[in-house]
């Protein structure tokens, strides 16, 4: 589903190389409705989603060997119990994983953070790229 349209340098290469079938995705969102829809959406893309409802559990999981078992993290950054940006920072500093940060809700434009040069915008429905924006929204 994240099939590139026009390409923009190495971020596009990152996307096309790293989002194959069977990709293992960790999704963090405290909203059960969003989580359910996202889970089925990701499965329909032939990915392997793991759904987690809070960032503390996700952090613990990643620290305890989970990092080896995950290819991509998608996280809501506006959650109630833990600041999503703290979680994002944890991943960027301590994990070698690409992260997609979303302000929540499936129609929001998401920002893709890869091990490359900072955020690239991705449309939630998988069209890539959308438009480049500053962080947060």
């Amino acid at each position: 589903m994240v099939s590139g349209n026009q390409r923009k340098g190495k971020e596009a290469t990152l996307v096309e190389d790293k989002f194959p079938q069977g990709m293992r995705v960790l999704v963090v969102d405290d909203n059960p409705v969003c989580l359910k829809v996202l889970e089925v959406l990701l499965r329909s893309c032939k990915y392997k989603p793991t759904m987690v409802m809070d960032a503390s559990t996700a952090m613990k999981m990643l620290k305890e060997g989970g990092e080896e078992k995950i290819d991509l993290v998608i996280t809501n950054v506006r959650m109630q119990n833990m600041d999503g940006f703290d979680f994002l920072e944890f991943i960027n500093l301590e994990m070698d994983l690409p992260v997609i940060a979303s302000p929540g809700g499936p129609q929001m434009v998401v920002m893709a953070y890869g091990p490359s040069d900072g955020p690239v915008a991705v449309e939630q429905d998988g069209r890539y790229p959308a438009q480049e924006q500053g962080a947060g929204s």
Partner: protein, 151 residues
């Protein structure tokens, strides 16, 4: 039993929901995810949504009383609800969520209260209409649910 007639009725009901602005495109996206692997997906999401949103609305009402003028808190609760509404395509409810958040930004307590009342009304209306819709789909037969009705 005339299944094709029932399916037509269901399609017409669904069209009404879109035309009246209760549902938006996201609902169709959710429908598109329904398949043999998840044959009741739409209804499951709807059930989950109404349970979750009912809880969130109730929490919000309590918060309005317990934490007067705590607009940050109110806004945070509403953010959750807005996310749920977005996920299922509950368009009118989502608008009220956004108005509520707007009123929080302006520090307008009465505005917030008004939005919450409207939100509760839209919630009840949508629940009733979707329940009727799913019931009709069920009566229309198993294929009525698994395939998208021709509109």
């Amino acid at each position: 039993m005339d299944y094709s007639n029932l399916r037509r009725q269901a399609a017409s009901m669904k069209k009404g929901l879109f035309d009246q602005g209760h549902l938006d495109e996201q609902f169709r996206q959710v429908e598109d995810l329904q398949d043999e692997a998840s044959p009741n997906f739409v209804e499951e999401v709807a059930v989950l949504f109404f349970k979750d949103s009912g809880r969130l609305i109730s929490n919000l009402e309590q918060a309005l009383e317990k934490y007067p003028r705590d607009f940050n808190r109110w806004d945070a609760y509403m953010q959750q609800l807005k996310g749920s509404c977005s996920s299922i395509g509950a368009s009118r409810m989502k608008s009220e969520c956004m108005s509520f958040k707007d009123n929080c930004g302006k520090g307008n307590v009465e505005g917030c209260m008004g939005c919450l009342q409207k939100l509760k009304r839209e919630h009840a209306i949508l629940r009733q209409k979707l329940e009727s819709y799913f019931q009709l789909l069920r009566q229309a037969g198993p294929t009525g649910a698994a395939t998208r009705p021709v509109m």
